[in-house]
Symmetry: D3
Subunit: 206 residues, 6 copies
Amino acid sequence: MGSKIIFLGLIAVSCYVASAADPSPLQDFCVADQNSTDPKVVEANDFFFTGLHLRGNTSNRFGLRPTPVTVAQVPGLNTLGISIFRVDFAPFGVTPPHTHPRASEVVLVLKGQLEVGFVASNPENRPITKVIGMGDMLAIPFGLTHFQRNIRNGTAVILAVFNSQTPGIILMANSVFGSKPDISNDVLQKAFQVDQNVISQLQNQF
Amino acid sequence: MGSKIIFLGLIAVSCYVASAADPSPLQDFCVADQNSTDPKVVEANDFFFTGLHLRGNTSNRFGLRPTPVTVAQVPGLNTLGISIFRVDFAPFGVTPPHTHPRASEVVLVLKGQLEVGFVASNPENRPITKVIGMGDMLAIPFGLTHFQRNIRNGTAVILAVFNSQTPGIILMANSVFGSKPDISNDVLQKAFQVDQNVISQLQNQF
Amino acid sequence: MGSKIIFLGLIAVSCYVASAADPSPLQDFCVADQNSTDPKVVEANDFFFTGLHLRGNTSNRFGLRPTPVTVAQVPGLNTLGISIFRVDFAPFGVTPPHTHPRASEVVLVLKGQLEVGFVASNPENRPITKVIGMGDMLAIPFGLTHFQRNIRNGTAVILAVFNSQTPGIILMANSVFGSKPDISNDVLQKAFQVDQNVISQLQNQF
Amino acid sequence: MGSKIIFLGLIAVSCYVASAADPSPLQDFCVADQNSTDPKVVEANDFFFTGLHLRGNTSNRFGLRPTPVTVAQVPGLNTLGISIFRVDFAPFGVTPPHTHPRASEVVLVLKGQLEVGFVASNPENRPITKVIGMGDMLAIPFGLTHFQRNIRNGTAVILAVFNSQTPGIILMANSVFGSKPDISNDVLQKAFQVDQNVISQLQNQF
Amino acid sequence: MGSKIIFLGLIAVSCYVASAADPSPLQDFCVADQNSTDPKVVEANDFFFTGLHLRGNTSNRFGLRPTPVTVAQVPGLNTLGISIFRVDFAPFGVTPPHTHPRASEVVLVLKGQLEVGFVASNPENRPITKVIGMGDMLAIPFGLTHFQRNIRNGTAVILAVFNSQTPGIILMANSVFGSKPDISNDVLQKAFQVDQNVISQLQNQF
Amino acid sequence: MGSKIIFLGLIAVSCYVASAADPSPLQDFCVADQNSTDPKVVEANDFFFTGLHLRGNTSNRFGLRPTPVTVAQVPGLNTLGISIFRVDFAPFGVTPPHTHPRASEVVLVLKGQLEVGFVASNPENRPITKVIGMGDMLAIPFGLTHFQRNIRNGTAVILAVFNSQTPGIILMANSVFGSKPDISNDVLQKAFQVDQNVISQLQNQF
């Protein structure tokens, strides 16, 4: 258990009827239907979330607990192009390597000291990493692989900030070894250049 | 009365189902529903507006009458990213300082002579102003504070052009002193550095 | 007959409820309705199309048969901003001069040898053309007039790639001479600088 | 002569170093060079244009004179996504069928009475036209073929408004018959379904 | 003194050569120059900022100190479309009513208790406000007027998050009363409906 | 060797001076420098690439050879938002699981039969896969993990199409196990839930 439920908030948002950016229509014309939402019924709670000061439960194999605040939690974020996450780390907890398919990120350390890094795309694969502590931030470019690691024997907390209302998350290990049904052994053996025993061992973790 | 009803056309548009710009999906996927609008029922009147040659009634405290032509008036503007306004000025009428949250603007003088200006954002606060007359235009950058002032003892008319189908308008004085319920006195006293009497005097105008 | 039905797949797509690009809201706010599409019901066939290896019937006046793969054929392309076409050419077949109102294009020759070209916008009107064969590609800038011509006495096949899920197509001759009801003779005579007999002759072809 | 010089202002703008829209980087990262333009040297004239009240010379075959106000004329329009044109018509003058590759348009009649229309893309080719007079506007969807025709024996003036700083223009007749060197006869004969004599006659007009 | 220097970091960034979003070219074509920046010289410090845990000096008339982290401070934010601010409040300190011309915002309270609100655009002018404390967040829609007020006799700290690398800031009072040279008295008297004495009194604060 | 050089064309493109999408300026204003590129010097070869009919050398551990056609190979693709790849597969060759940080993709099979699939983002991790053959296409949503596998004992060829001029590629195994210097063992052990021996074994493949 663990990673499966951790990010549950993220994918529940799918096909909102969102009002579009102004330019670049999708077809010749699309005459508006003027029965619109009444701005008078909007209220502060549509834009509000509470509890980001609370420590999340990090009792799972990553020593990790994200608390997402996306359009799935705050409907008023719809069309605003922004969201945030609190992420709690147990001592030596990690956010495993992952990408966000639809956002850049800024990582701000609220507590503790972490190694934070991202990896340039192929063929560079050059990691750009830094140990950062309370009050430090590191920017993560759009769509690149990145990770965080709590390097101390104490809890740590970061705030992760995204320029999308639904940034999405792809945990690389889970996406590759945890998809059900499995990705073909053949693909994984060639990708990782190891035999089937190792692949099966990796898949059994998820 | 006056400013309350002047801009009424603007906010009535809210949550149209607009077709989106092509890139940057909001989620992993969003399979299309193929029951679409029939392009055969679209007609010229969906794209049409009449009456922009008519003088608006400027009997209000600003000496001002905007006539908006946005998606609220012309449904065919949906997804097209463009709108226009005719604005009539009484002698010495003014458009008070305002911003458009979602558009750049071009001001074209059709009649009369006006001082037109915009103010660079903080910390510059540098106004860039010019007296312009019939056949002159001045561009107003996206989101900046701007105003127009009829400097002659005769009527004036401008055409204001926007690159959004719903540019929105924030009259700064109304937004700050005219919101109901009031913004806290404390915020306003600190913002304007004057005592409560002056703040109350300002609020009473709206 | 011919050109009328050739592109039928293109325009049938009109007002999909598409999820929008993240930034640039269309109005102040648009609180989300959280009854969303269930990602679990999506299946591979929503993203699939078959038959692009099959020769299209080119028995028409252009010697041309496009096979479109847009969101009208593949609902999963919704919000993805991409589509492709196979285009078959009879010997000496042509794609007449046309524009795509909403896309750039890449032309890849799968078989045969064609002259492919585009024309810079006014006042240049400079054509940039090249004879290209199997395995060659030529990029066509966004919105510009372009055409393809099979220069050999054998069939030819291209793949046309677009960065829009509904690029649209405007065949210039059909748009000008084939619209029903007709565009006024006066417009066409002035545009083409020929007398009414020639205009009528041109209109009668469509 | 005529159409060649009329639109000269449009194409002279090409590869400005423009600051980009915020999202969707083009590569992994692009660290900023902090030697930036000084906002203090910007002045009102960078955003200003005069002369739109002046009648243009319409002594040419279209009876037409556009006066463009794009980033080529007003450098401050850079990144603002907006531009305008005054267009003068001689009695019965026409804007021949054309497209703008990068903009939606709003047409506002300042003087006279014109037939204004656009044509839906293939396979519809349905024209949506309307006779409009002083104070009327008609919206023209992004990228579609459109035209204007002065239907009276007097001058007419329109203002054309675009949501691009360089909308571009493709006069369809000029693009097809006026490109130098010529587009192959074969392409044009097939496109227009007429013999070479008619094609040559058409090309000789340009 | 005070507000002038507070936001200094924001405006120093102006005309970076930024790589653009992929679609919607500004002209027909713009062939690339292939002398590109070397990704190998990029280093972690280009994406890094430190000191956000440090209390800012709030000895000014607003009782306020923003610490900006935009592309002006962190060059690696270029093209990433994201930035953050720490904002310190003295007891009862306020962020005066302001707009960001180019961003949505999320406000997260790190310490203390504040009233946070935004005002819908005209003609609504309806404030949506809420008292929020540690661990609470409130979203502020794109371009709307908003403010924060520390309601306790103790310091407060918020983190403000933006979906732009240079959101910009327009303090409404400063923009209107603090611009140098002054905006015409006539404009201000009409906008605020008070006599010249009050206007002068307001201008003298800046 | 192998995967290091395969994708070399991709990353060499970095900080082109690209003209931007029209809306959403990055700062208040950015007055244009009018010394622009001359459209007259552009030529067909700027938009041209040859050799996509040629079989690539697949003698590497993946049995794979991509031939990229991005802005790095074709400078005229700058600002056009589109690119293509030919990909050759040896018998049973695979494209290992990867993401494109900046593009949606369409896969078209030119020869052979492949299993093609993508994986929904967390927490779903549901693979959507299909065996597709010559003339079949499958769309891959923006930013999601995907792979291809030649399921036959013969060569296979696909064409991959992207809606970005520089889509980028992140081979997940290489990004995680092949980055130099290594990502911390601790991060990888927690991510993959295996001991250091297995991690070292995996790293040694790259």
